[in-house]
Symmetry: D2
């Protein structure tokens, strides 16, 4: 039974507790374009995006990830996807066109890793904004690049996505443990990546911006507004992916990466690049240590019924403890590395 033909990571739907404050952060500050909105929901897209949105912000009681959404190549990939997940014992549910603004019929599943994942093919075409330089501001987000997921068992997540037809561009590992993996369908370093930790939780959403000075600019704007507390880590260059990055936290604590550079992965037989967990350059090529909160804090996820999924402890050695960031000694702030925030 073939898996659905997933094209790419397309959008995520986040619960936010204050829609006005979230809109300020994502639209006014980061520079996303509003495709549509009402009193409780805002639909956002990057300037290069041609479909309706890359992000849905929905007002709710508590911060959470509602679901991740992948676009599939053809309408028939929806039924193929539903069958593929059902064969693995996953709950699935169909949604008619229009359930989400701008998105056609879709199927959502509770995947084996505990995330709610949507597949869709049809989407509304939007005005091209790529060359509307007059509208650009903040981080100048161009397109969604990837989802990064916190999972208790990285190997299991890797195997699941491998069976879904994802390639693997890079890993962090040692002889016994896979600490992290970057996997792709589109021809970039990743559509999805895994960080070992208490999960299932959403680690971050990654958005692509054209050049590294755009990464710098959003940091400059945050400082200008004395909102630098929204910056969590960076700017810097990743060893993995070679991308220049900064991590921010939105008003609900959802983490977002502004990301640029990356490389082409479309050739057949691409060899996985394997980084040692003791290489200080793997997560910051300049040698800056990762910070503890980056390893411990993340967003809980909802099931198909909108209930928060329980967060299970990490089931492998934590990269935060054995990695080159020097946290082994400073154990106290990481005691909770294996617990939900």
């Amino acid at each position: 039974m073939p898996p659905p033909d997933i094209v790419r990571a397309a959008y995520a739907s986040l619960r936010v507790t204050d829609i006005a404050r979230a809109r300020w952060f994502w639209v006014d500050l980061l520079g996303f374009n509003v495709s549509d909105e009402d009193a409780t929901t805002v639909y956002l897209r990057g300037s290069d995006e041609l479909i309706h949105h890359n992000l849905v912000l929905r007002a709710g009681e508590a911060p959470a990830l509602e679901y991740l959404s992948y676009r599939v190549r053809a309408p028939e990939d929806l039924a193929r996807g539903a069958a593929w997940f059902e064969r693995r014992g996953c709950r699935t549910r169909w949604f008619p066109r229009g359930t989400t603004e701008g998105i056609g019929e879709s199927v959502r599943v509770e995947d084996p890793l505990g995330f709610t994942v949507e597949l869709f093919h049809e989407a509304s075409r939007m005005e091209r904004l790529m060359q509307r330089y007059d509208l650009r501001r903040g981080a100048e987000p161009a397109r969604i690049d990837h989802f990064n997921l916190v999972v208790p068992d990285v190997r299991r997540a890797f195997d699941h996505y491998r069976s879904l037809g994802f390639g693997c561009s890079e890993t962090i590992e040692d002889d016994s443990t896979l600490y992290a993996a970057w996997m792709f369908r589109k021809q970039t370093v990743h559509d999805v990546a895994f960080t070992g930790g208490a999960g299932p939780r959403l680690h971050h959403l990654g958005f692509f911006t054209p050049e590294s000075h755009n990464v710098q600019r959003i940091c400059d704007v945050l400082g200008a507004l004395h909102e630098e507390g929204h910056r969590e880590r960076g700017p810097g260059r990743h060893g993995v992916s070679n991308a220049f990055y900064v991590y921010l936290r939105d008003p609900d604590g959802h983490r977002v990466e502004i990301y640029t550079s990356d490389y082409y992965t479309g050739d057949p037989g691409l060899e996985t690049l394997r980084w040692g967990v003791d290489d200080p350059r793997r997560r910051d090529f300049y040698g800056n240590d990762v910070i503890p909160s980056w390893y411990t804090e993340a967003t809980v996820v909802l099931d198909l019924d909108g209930a928060v999924r329980p967060v299970g402890d990490i089931r492998q050695i934590s990269e935060a403890r054995v990695g080159a960031d020097g946290f082994a000694a400073a154990a106290s702030p990481l005691e909770s590395a294996g617990s939900a925030k």
Copy 2:
């Protein structure tokens, strides 16, 4: 009969009249990495490239394009490709592994447009140089991006590549004429593009560099060495593709584009972006006119036997005459627009 599954533009093989001088230009100045070389041949790759090369420079009597080379997805795409072209009445010829350093078995064809085109699957893996920032210099070429071909009939070239399974990201056209088209297999704006003119000739090879300051840098280096005569057009931003660019000419007059930015084209149902021939931004988003030599000069191409292909006059209205660049009045320098150089 299905076409071969082409993955991407992989490399080109150029005849150069002075191999030492060509090596100075492509290696010392532009910053390509030498994968291999002997007295008469140099194999070059960009810093991101994982296969053996993106360019072959081969010493010869006169400047010419030997062939363009596409990588195909699977070994069986060679036979499928040979059959597909033979069905169209094209001559084909097989070459065993090692004919070209680093390339496995291949088949070359004289395509219906008059270009010699190679298909190959197998290639040697090379050391990753992407993060060897200590080796970067000049234009910091990362990977080959595209071939740009001068053809007398753009619609015919478009139809041929459409039948080969290429998508079309952008065009320049008016009600009656297709002046130029950008077509892709990998998920970028193009692997191949067509410029209307006396052909078949190679207009230019396009190489990707990470950021726009890299485009600026190669111009700075040329000025520093008083070699600014190698710069032909730019720097500027293209309307088509949104890329930031500069065009250079090598010591034999072969044109090379240093190119950055671009966008993702991998979604199903991508809508072609159509530019009017009278939009001054189509070829330079800042409104700088294209220069006459860019429309008239190009590299002749060789057939399977190494003979120069005759160059036929343009068979449609020339963009150089009707386009927004203001050349209609200044007819004299463009009298030869329809003739070989």
Copy 3:
């Protein structure tokens, strides 16, 4: 009799025919900050500027330069300046504090070159906006850099400013003629420069922006709005000054340069860098030709009574004719090089 101690080029006052349209160009598009405004006048400053303004736009019947304004070191430099110019037979006139918003007492003179020049010391302090990255847009002008003046006799202009205590960083010359000169008081390449042509006229106002991607950005914004007609020349790097630049024209045809990079000139005994008029890199380090309009079009200047100064023919060989830009052959568009627009 010592000259006044001029600190730097501080601001210019321009007549514009449509104040709303001018405000759109300078504020909304280029990104200047409004310090003050009323129905007929707008006062603008760059983000780094600490005094009231770098530019005054004043509604009037026809486009013109009202005057150039230099800041002097001490209050007593006003009387010293008045005396110095009067000794040279120049008309002078005093203006009390507040004549121009934000500027203290000043003296204006009709200088020997035919320009109306103001000296002032006292100025209102404004809020620092340098780190208000949230307010930046367009070309992100930071400060006024220089005035560029069209004069019929460059040597005479050079001698005048030399006697005023200006240093000379660079020139364009040959054995018999001084074609252009760059002269400074602050420690940059220039506060004032001279272009040979029919004058007195204002060639352009130069504003500094932090980095070259800011130069690129304003070009991108113009293209986005299909206002690329406001771009006249560039982007490129100057040989002279090593600055990265673009020239724009405002709705009244006033020319503005967005300029970055430059170098330090504060050491004693700085040696003048002399460029040959036949070096294609002198005005564009990449070898792009200057365009005819850049040599022929400019803004007329007003005398102390607000009357337009007559424009006299160039009194030396024109750089436009002998320079490396290849205009000698294409004489027709330059027939008027020696005449007022």
Copy 4:
């Protein structure tokens, strides 16, 4: 008695323990240009520098700062400077032309802060390398920007340099304490700055590079060579000065800042910008904490006889303890903040 007319910070002379290794770091890696060298000494300058050097590396037993050197406006400023310092009870010593390669007659003093300071006027002119883009590499250092000094009493250092005629662009302070100050002669943010700590010691030498992507590049190169241990802090933007920066350590532990952006300070009456010690943006505008080693480690200085000056404990509250970097809790790594390394 007037102070000598100091033009700017010109160069520093450093003792290094392995001249070959130091040359690798400063020349091969950072990209300085060698003006002269012999078996024990290397003279280096940035690409914009027109005098002989900005840095002298001299082989010695132990790492140290030999002296700081300022250029003065006129030859007679040497005697004026000697007298001025002698009046303050400072030892002075004269050195004939040629004592240091490329430098004319000079006088050195042991200043009241415990640093050996040289004054010189005459210097050899060197070839302009500013536009030799073909030679640029690494951090592309253009010119020396400033000296940063560790002093036990910042107010005293401030008063000393104020009496020498330096202006003050910015400070870090609170109601009772001056924690740091930036002071200038040339028209930039500083030629010299003070950091409170055990001193006298040299905190770092600051070199200017054209744009922020050049700061990023040296970090990329260090990562590429797995020499990221030479990076100590950054990249980031300073609140103070608005400059984009990174701090590196050379093989002897001498700290160097690669620095870009800055602003013009040449107007009369420049108002000092005062940052609160509790503003997390003062030292990193993005809110990244300063790291402990940056506050505690520095280079000892030599007296006129070449002996190491004793290092006295800090005599004020340490910014490392009260500043916004959160080190108050983490006292242990800072116990030695008041001691020599």
